[in-house]
Symmetry: C2
Subunit: 333 residues, 2 copies
Amino acid sequence: MIQIPYLLFLGDAPDQLAAKVAQGIRDWRPDNAVGQFRMAGCGADVKLPDMDLAAAQAAGAKTLVVGVANRGGIISKDWKKVLVAALEDGFDLASGLHNLLRDEPDLVAVAEATGRALHDVRVPEEQYPIANGVKRSGKRCLAVGTDCSVGKMYTGLAMDAEMKRRGQKSTFRATGQTGILITGNGVPLDAVVADFMAGAVEWLTPDNDADHWDHIEGQGSLFHVSYSGVTMALIHGGQPDALILSHEPTRPHMRGLPGYDLPSLERLRDTALPLARIANPACQVVGISINTAAMGEDEALSYLEATEKRMGLPAVDPFRQGAARLADALDAI
Amino acid sequence: MIQIPYLLFLGDAPDQLAAKVAQGIRDWRPDNAVGQFRMAGCGADVKLPDMDLAAAQAAGAKTLVVGVANRGGIISKDWKKVLVAALEDGFDLASGLHNLLRDEPDLVAVAEATGRALHDVRVPEEQYPIANGVKRSGKRCLAVGTDCSVGKMYTGLAMDAEMKRRGQKSTFRATGQTGILITGNGVPLDAVVADFMAGAVEWLTPDNDADHWDHIEGQGSLFHVSYSGVTMALIHGGQPDALILSHEPTRPHMRGLPGYDLPSLERLRDTALPLARIANPACQVVGISINTAAMGEDEALSYLEATEKRMGLPAVDPFRQGAARLADALDAI
């Protein structure tokens, strides 16, 4: 559990894209961040007040979150000055970088001396149980994709936001580093040991009120041979009541796998649903989430319309259109 | 890679069942073990010459393998005396126990002082890659089960032994601790980090001669919600050309999961084959392996006959009948 609120560290981000973790926090949990910390030459701006450490502390910030990707995979000396000063001023640090905070001896030494925490959200902080398959109360929705990186996290966050807006009981359950930094907690599922994957998902989505929805962040794809085991564990550990099919229509082949075609939405449905019903016989496919970012407006809308007609399910791009119709679909079951 | 040959440590095993790892080595790789080491009161006997450390060393043994389950989950003082003496005499140690050799400070200290290796086969010794899905040369067979612990390892070992007996090119590829101790190497798949599971299976079953068969040890079941992700990674990382369906007909529910029924063999076939064809479009289901240990001879034979007729595939119990007909089925594709 990462302490909120955050000060978002944008460092010397060369451009806006490099700060996408900070942008995600700004978009989805604006109340979790009091401001942004930008170094000289920073090319990103997530439209939060610029603050130094003292100002952020006065505003109540508890954790400095590295909201930027680092160049060349190393934590630079310039960054270190800020990170060390933050620890000394009483901030915890949180990061989803590949190179871990805990692998930097100077940060470890200062954190120990000051009694602050270093959160590397790529590394599990819990000892998860083995899944027991026992039916849990409350409801759960999981997005499953034709491929990796087709908008499953975005879909879950958008549905959660929509249900909260309606005053419904809803929680986004993060399973990847960006989602964990956005919400402050979750399970870094791709870093969990095989035997405990499904148990980690059970742990993440415990018994809840009968009318509460967990929106579980999807990972990988049943059709992506590198990561399909992770997807399988989400389907069986998550016991979803509802599946959303996620797809990106313009991709030439499975991400990182030349020679592997994407499946059709029909094939995804017919593969995922019987597997999901092993853990939850009542599971239904309720809607389709299409990432149309690479399409023009007209092309996108006609693709969505044709998909909706073909599949007999609401088909929306939650980025263009919001997630209201997907939330409606959950209300209907 | 564990150095062979072994001296098998049976310790103070209360009965034969407690020494099943040693029995597995004795059954499947008798040339890998020069003898057995039994302490006072040992109730197990795997019918190898009884040897002390000096005799085993004279016979060429390189590694003392813990071939017995320990009582109460601790490595006792009596065992320690033998293990320490073995290290001091120049043996490596290998174990599949839950409590690790490397977590015992005295064993670590002696191993360091003597330059010997401690192999805990539950813990990966490699940094595996992420799977790339590239088609590999050679052929691969994987047993998939209706449930865990239905005889998948036995089936793979029996098919490998049969093909070797026929002079064919064949390798058993271990994915669990017992299989690793039997063969001296493999991947402890249930202990691999999620992102690297399928890559570990690719690593384990590399390019090979066109007429070489890998018999990949199966794990879990697509229908076992605790471990289905591990099974999925075997199916996609293994790129099997042939699947064997494995089943135990008398089980009342999925192992450890009351309330979960076992699937039929038809459902297993119809679930596993389309998933396998994502990674290898040529994959076929070639045979059925039934564990009839809980059935009488007549009952077993009539069950096998009925299953064979119903499924249109050779159905055998490799323990009762040998794996010849399953090996024939591989020859036919």
